[in-house]
């Protein structure tokens, strides 16, 4: 069961976010102004957490290189992060029973993101890197996520 998915670009901006709660099936992105502020705070804090965790793990790790994938589990959920060579971060929150999601996150990057966003001929606004409104990306992503959950 997938709970939440976020993509951050290399300047730590959240360019995509979606959430699926246990009760409803639809996306739940915070429609009231108060909820929208909370969502922004959550996105920023999630980035901070992921960033710090990677630093923490590289220091503690017996291996000399920093990890490109890691996950943590709490008693209620599991968070997986895959960081690309271009410093984009794909963050997925699932239930605790889910296994290693590195290959799936890599596929989201190579088969969904690169194909529908990077290779897209649509003009992109450098001021607003968000791909929240990119219908092709959203469609392909949802197809992919349904196939893995």
């Amino acid at each position: 069961m997938i709970y939440r998915f976020l993509i951050y670009d290399k300047s730590s901006t959240c360019i995509y976010y979606d959430e699926w709660s246990v009760n409803n099936n639809g996306a739940n992105k915070g429609v009231t102004p108060a909820a929208a502020l909370d969502a922004e705070e959550m996105k920023r804090n999630t980035f901070g957490l992921v960033f710090e965790l990677k630093r923490f793990l590289s220091k503690l790790s017996p291996s000399p290189t920093a990890p490109d994938y890691f996950s943590y589990t709490t008693n209620k959920y599991k968070l997986h992060v895959y960081e690309t060579a271009t410093s984009m971060r794909f963050v997925l929150l699932t239930d605790t029973k889910t296994g290693n999601m590195k290959q799936q996150l890599k596929k989201i990057y190579s088969d969904v993101y690169v194909e529908t966003v990077v290779k897209s001929l649509e003009p992109r606004n450098p001021e607003d890197p968000s791909i929240q409104g990119n219908k092709q990306f959203t469609h392909e992503l949802n197809l992919f996520l349904s196939s893995i959950s």
Binding site: Y3, R4, E19, S21, V22, M42, N45, T46, G48, L49, E52, L53, F56, L57, K59, L60, S61, P62, S63, P67, Y69, F70, S71, Y72, T73, T74, N75, K76, Y77, L79, L93, K102
Partner: protein
């Protein structure tokens, strides 16, 4: 002794998130004691954030943290202390080991009349028994 399934280090944090014990079991570690202090200082913050932004109600913080090379198991006690254990991915039964370390702490640190609460742990018996427990 094969390196498969071995414990790398044990870290204990007091209620305020300060490091009161660290022990490395792998030779040639690139660490200075100060590094650990700084590192574990962020752990409490990360634990709190991971609990707060849970997508599901009533989550505690990080219990297990895994990369492809090693994993870290965390135990937060009822008294707000943290026991952290890093080990090879293949090492079995980490949560149980952590519980045993907590028991050793209660028996050989807390019951030591010279030990001051929240201070760095310098109890020989604890060190010896910890090595016995993990090897």
């Amino acid at each position: 002794m094969s390196k498969d399934g071995s414990i790398y280090s044990v870290l204990i944090l007091n209620k305020s998130g300060g490091l009161i014990y660290n022990r490395d079991f792998i030779p040639g570690n690139k660490f200075v004691a100060n590094d650990y202090v700084i590192l574990t200082g962020v752990f409490y913050g990360m634990y709190t954030i991971s609990a707060r932004y849970s997508p599901v109600e009533g989550s505690d913080g990080i219990q297990t943290l895994e990369t492809e090379d090693f994993k870290l198991q965390a135990l937060q006690t009822q008294t707000g202390m943290f026991f952290l254990l890093t080990a090879d991915l293949r090492y079995p039964g980490l949560p149980e080991k952590l519980q045993s370390i907590y028991e050793l702490y209660s028996d050989y640190v807390l019951k030591n009349p010279f030990y001051e609460m929240e201070q760095p742990i310098r109890c020989k018996k604890f060190d010896v028994l910890l090595s016995n427990l993990l090897f």
